[in-house]
Symmetry: C2
Subunit: 335 residues, 2 copies
């Protein structure tokens, strides 16, 4: 796990750290880095190309940017890339994958808040809260009988750090929880069973709720298409807090319109922000949020603090935590 | 706990049972009673007055009716009143209280579904779901940071059967749970503390969520008034799944408008159905539902089955379960 590509000793007490983010001020909480290194800020390919020469550590705070791939030739002393995000899909370009520069991510930070978001979505569907709000707006008293969640079945596609926490929270409210991972694994204190991704279709039909908590990789791109939605129960709800391109959005819209599934809660989309004329906005059986399920109050500061913890390891010459498997595109063994 | 007012032997194998409900067909699931007695159905004071003579058991399926008090003189052989509801406030009239006719209720049936409703409301507030729905209707992508529920504080006013289940579910998702009961009790596996109702005001300020799960009695009528809302934290949310008259609605509306508290989720109201011109309908920081928090799919059948279980005890001459304390107006010692 030690870094082997260093031209300088790994324990540089004052490394040059470039922060690649969305704004010239850098993200909230960046002041926490003061004194820990020679800090530069880049916001796009051009400013990154200027900042990279001499940079030993790159902290990527904008998970959407593809500037690093474009500016890559300027990375002459880079020893470590930390993505302050759960997903690292934009960093999985060939030159970085093939290098021996380690990539770490923010595994763990968003688990709890995302799990709460998922449970909230499940309860909204079960209690028909959407219609409560509609009837309130119409000033109409309309009594209905609604569902309970106890005893219902959740299938979590992606049994990593986030998926496990979702499963744990669902199990805490007495739901049955099954996981889908690359390979089948033993049941544990969260998952009653963990099936292999290859067997997904045979388990979709049993689920009342299907939750996508997978990273975006070559294996998961377009994973949920028309065939998958057809395999689900007609009363089932689909929840995506992973990445938009894991789902073929057109097929999801069709499945919702045709009654192949009963509803969807979506925090991520193939295109973000979702264009104003997209049909999803107008669908009553869809709950939408702006890629924010994990973004609890204080998350930016928490991300910087997590990076600082890993920086202390780097400076001490210790193995970094949350190291991403470049082969698989995510940090393995979460939980 | 044995009945002592019987003019007939308690073990009548085919008792006359009158069902007092809202419709001439009686409630769903009533067919389950076939063969268990001589069944009559009453829907109002007039039909109840006709049905009561000779009736040994009265099953009240409409918790709103006050017909029994009016028709009371016709109850010549009544031995047992079962309320197929959690609240028995309409049955606590002097003649029935002073009689030695036992009253039982539906304690337990609605606990789980009401607890899920409360947790759903808490997660809606925390995740700002109401605004997600608004922005979706406006086709606007608006990212916000939102709250987590882990570590937040819930105060449950009413630590009976329903309040305990609410507490248990909140605790399962890592919230801190405190109860309010008539008298202070020891902490237990659900409540970190149970304070006496007399000390309510000193504990209101600490709560992020205040949940009313109390029965309507003389002691709880108008319990939550302007002073109580003033004692709550400005960011706190108020949830009422008990009974409407426990709250002074005018004071609640003022507290919400003046920012004394941040929001409310209301399933019960002083007047039901709530009139269409009531200000609550139009308030963005209020979530409303039509007295249905407990009404899971299948609840009517579950209520009849519970009555049948108690009827078997009655026919065997055994003590009835879920006996209501006429002094306090609810079945004590729920769990």
């Amino acid at each position: 796990m030690h870094m082997t590509a260093s031209k300088t000793p790994p324990a540089d007490p004052h490394p040059r750290i470039t922060v690649l983010g969305g704004s010239a001020e850098g993200p909230a909480g960046l002041d926490r880095l003061a004194g820990l290194g020679d800090i530069r800020i880049a916001t796009d390919e051009v400013s990154l190309r200027d900042a990279l020469p001499g940079t030993e550590i790159l902290l990527v705070t904008d998970f959407r940017t593809d500037a690093l791939e474009a500016a890559w030739p300027a990375a002459d002393r880079l020893q470590w890339v930390h993505a302050a995000s759960a997903g690292v899909d934009q960093l999985m370009f060939d030159a970085l994958i093939e290098s021996d520069i380690p990539v770490t991510n923010a595994q763990g930070i968003f688990d709890r808040s995302i799990a709460e978001y998922v449970l909230g979505a499940i309860l909204m569907f079960a209690k028909d809260t959407r219609n409560n709000i509609r009837y309130q707006q119409e000033r109409r008293w309309v009594h209905r009988d609604t569902e309970t969640v106890a005893g219902k079945r959740v299938l979590v596609a992606g049994a990593g750090s986030i998926g496990r926490r979702i499963g744990a929270l669902c199990r805490a409210v007495d739901m049955h929880v099954t996981g889908i991972a690359r390979r089948a694994r033993e049941a544990d204190d969260v998952f009653e069973a963990i099936h292999a991704a290859d067997d997904l279709d045979t388990h979709l039909a049993e689920a009342d709720y299907v939750v996508v908590a997978a990273p975006l990789t070559e294996a998961t791109e377009n994973w949920f298409d028309a065939g998958r939605f057809r395999a689900m129960a007609g009363h089932a709800r689909f929840i995506n807090i992973g990445r938009g391109p894991i789902v073929v959005t057109e097929d999801l819209v069709a499945a919702l319109n045709d009654g192949e599934i009963a509803g969807a809660a979506l925090d991520v989309f193939e295109q973000e922000p979702l264009p104003a004329d997209h049909p999803l906005w107008g669908m009553d059986n869809v709950l939408m949020s702006a890629h924010m399920a994990g973004d609890f109050i204080g998350w930016r500061e928490a991300l910087i603090d997590q990076f600082i913890d890993n920086l202390a390891r780097w400076q001490a010459g210790e193995p970094l935590f949350n190291r991403v498997s470049k082969k698989h595109g995510y940090a393995p063994g979460g939980g």
